[in-house]
């Protein structure tokens, strides 16, 4: 029993949830008032868009790539959502579908030319930003009513952001971890050659994963304007970093197809909480990003420690 509880696998799996729980307890201790429906709702408000962006990044990381453009992409979809989707829904839907298709095409390009994803996505981040600026030159626009309504839903007992985040995590878990094609997709990250030898198309797996990332990027943008009601091309620039950090905090590995959707959304929640935690500690907002970097490094250090122990076993 003790063996099982101290096994590297178990520790690795528990790390994300444990970091979240510790952070939450610390916050409750500092500000007991946050332990309420309203308090949690306020603290975790922005979890939904961040969790969706994290899931998008997770799809890319599953196939051993990295997306440095997810932030600007979320910004672009937010801009489309607050303008075209609100004014001429059909055009908006087409544009958003086009965004998803563009992501799938990027996956195909990266596979076809064997390109380093970070350079390609870094370049694309400018393209997304440029299009967003063209669509919405100055901050503004309005989110469609139904998006605002959806994001403002009051769920009983447990606040909406928590319910929504858990639902997102479960749905993606079903799709990626429980479906039969999901196994192939993850396998393409674990041992691409084996998947190729078993007769699967690696081009298709890459396109599916990038397409899925694009789809969740769109959802992230829409949920974001549901909260802010207006958009701006730069609204989600920080999401690139949040998304990578979220995946890693959630126990995902950079290579080898070892990811966890549940972990990723927990990672996103942890990240959102850090902000409140630092505020309650009266640490200046200057250290916000730094603290996130620090947490990232600590988690990676812990994981390196666990892995090293595994090497000794």
């Amino acid at each position: 029993m003790v063996d099982r509880l101290t096994s590297p696998r178990f520790l690795r799996a528990v790390l994300p949830a444990a970091s979240f729980a510790i952070l939450l307890i610390a916050i409750f201790y500092l500000k007991p008032r946050t332990m309420s429906y309203f308090g949690l709702n306020l603290m975790l408000q922005y979890t939904v868009p961040i969790a969706l962006a994290t899931i998008a990044q997770m799809f890319i990381i599953t196939v051993n790539d990295l997306d440095l453009s997810i932030g600007p992409f979320v910004g672009l979809t937010a801009c489309i959502g607050a303008t075209w989707l609100a004014d001429t829904p059909l055009l908006g839907i087409l544009a958003l579908a086009g965004c998803v298709a563009a992501y799938a095409a990027l996956g195909a390009l990266i596979h076809w030319r064997n390109l380093p994803s970070i350079v390609v996505t870094l370049g694309m981040s400018f393209v997304w930003l440029g299009i967003a600026v063209l669509i919405l030159p100055t901050p503004g626009g309005t989110a469609p009513g139904w998006v605002k309504w959806l994001m403002g839903v009051k769920t009983p007992v447990v606040p909406f952001p928590i319910v929504a985040t858990v639902v997102i995590g479960l749905v993606v878990h079903l799709l990626l971890m429980r479906s039969s094609y999901g196994a192939v997709l993850r396998g393409a990250g674990g041992n691409p050659r084996a998947i190729g030898r078993a007769g699967w198309s690696l081009l298709k797996t890459k396109m599916v994963m990038f397409g899925a990332a694009g789809f969740f990027g769109v959802l992230s943008g829409l949920s974001l304007i549901g909260l802010t009601s207006a958009a701006d091309a730069h609204i989600a620039d920080r999401y690139t970093l949040y998304a990578i950090a979220g995946v890693i905090l959630g126990g995902g590995e950079f290579v080898g197809g070892r990811v966890s959707p549940i972990g990723a959304v927990i990672g996103a929640m942890t990240l959102t909480l850090t902000g409140s935690f630092l505020t309650f500690l009266k640490i200046s907002p200057d250290w916000q990003i730094g603290a996130q970097g620090g947490i990232l490094i600590i988690v990676l250090a812990l994981r390196a420690l666990i892995n090293r122990r595994e090497g000794l076993v």
């Binding site: 390109l115 390609v120 370049g123 393209v127 440029g130 990578i244 990003i289 970097g293």
Partner: protein, 315 residues
Amino acid sequence: MTSLTWISQKAWIWSFVGAFVVWLATALYIGGAGGTAVITTALSFATFTVIVGIGQMFVITTGPGNVDLSIPATISFSGAVAMKIMDGSNAMLPIGFAASMACGLVVGLFNYILIRILRIPPIIATLSSSFLVLSTAIAYGRGLKIKPPPLLAEFATARLLGIPVLAIVIILFAVVMSVVLNRTMYGRSVLAIGQNQRAAWLAGINVERIRFYTYVLSALLAALCGFLLSGFSGGASLNMGQEYLLASIAVVVIGGTSVAGGKANVPGIWGAAMFMFLLVTMLNTFGVSAGIRLILTGLIIVAVITIAGGDKPPR
């Protein structure tokens, strides 16, 4: 075959050709003496991209997966620290410069420690450290409105026969770094590691030491850029490093350095930096909107990498 090899070896020439074409188009559009003014401005601004580009080039040349994402944070950090220490006084210039270099050294060391001890991919290591560095810069330099020492400002903006002095210095520096790349043990080792890390180790190269030097060099150059840039633009600002993340990678790729590693080119970085700046200038003079400018910048980088891609080692 031979002409193909020739072109693939001289791919960096295209960056100069591109820069010239773009300049010509701009010069013809505005006409008259405006063309030379455009060139001198471009030289001034390209200088800073070249400084960080050279550091990034060495990092990228050590092979796939190696890239320094902490450059922008280091620029802001070094600029803020130097400005605050010098506090506008000429006498403090050497100390400010030393402090700025120390910032670079610390960041480089920290990056390498993360990569080596935590065994995280360099991308994530430099990204996480950039969070910390940026926060330090923000906290340290909050409300910083300090003018650079007059001497530094003068040096950074001085011109000799109409040519920016700083650009001349950095052109010379690029020549030196080109010699370092091609004629020193260090440079050869970087090129060897980038082609095949395992073979390099088996050929007697201390791979870890070379990687250490490379990440420190990149951070030092980013710090230098921060120092000079704050002198050039009349003080440090916290987001002054921002644009150099993409720029540093873009000039390396456009300049003919292979992202697959093992092949690098210093002159190409100058060509690419000029091209990037002149392109923006051209689009500005044509009255193109900011959005289109961003889109074109991004697409050019994706196009260049798509064309240059595929040169993977024959396995």
